[in-house]
Symmetry: C2
Subunit: 120 residues, 2 copies
């Protein structure tokens, strides 16, 4: 009976939790090798929790990251099919990713630090 309730709560929660996480994930993905938008969307759709990821979600983030100088973009003509816009992480992007992961780790530590039970 409470199973469905919990799913509703988790849906709302994970939607919020994804917000900060997604940008870091995207940056990490690009840090592992340059990629183009359509490719990223297709790949992430298979990751758990991102089944409904749409292009309208990814491209604005890519644009913002480029504006912030975290990535650079480059059009590449392909032998087959339309040209693709490849994104590559900059040095600032790599350092920023590193800092994000550091904050993420620290959050983990605070979460795991179980404070002593207060016995009234």
């Amino acid at each position: 009976m409470t199973g469905t309730e919990m799913e509703d709560i988790l849906d709302r929660w994970s939607s919020q939790a994804r917000k900060g996480y997604f940008e870091m994930l995207l940056l990490a993905r690009l840090n592992a090798g340059r990629a183009y938008g359509y490719q990223i969307v297709a790949a992430l759709k298979q990751a758990p929790g991102f089944e409904n990821l749409a292009e309208g979600t990814v491209y604005p983030v890519l644009t913002r990251m480029k504006k912030d100088g975290l990535v650079t973009a480059e059009w590449v003509a392909e032998d087959t099919g339309p040209p693709r816009k490849y994104y590559t992480v900059t040095e600032l992007g790599a350092r920023t990713l590193d800092a994000m992961q550091g904050i993420w780790r620290r959050m983990d530590e605070v979460l795991l630090a179980q404070p002593a039970k207060e016995t009234s």
Copy 2:
């Protein structure tokens, strides 16, 4: 030169990352032992990243968690000072926290799973 830029980016980012995290942290804190709102605010203000935490942030979350059945609340008259409202995690709350932490872990794994570099 890029140091300040990066801080701006990280500020915006961590503000988003906190959103989902905070609710889980609050639930974890209560899971370690019942507590009242003012106490939680005072304690969390000392945690890294929550220096500016305000009551107006915590109480709405507590109210929502109570409405969702994750916690119960109980007024307790104190020997000294005004009465306090203690929050206790319910069984649903404990299970929900467990599920949240599972999702959090899975996010971690996806983040750490470095996909093989695509060599064009």
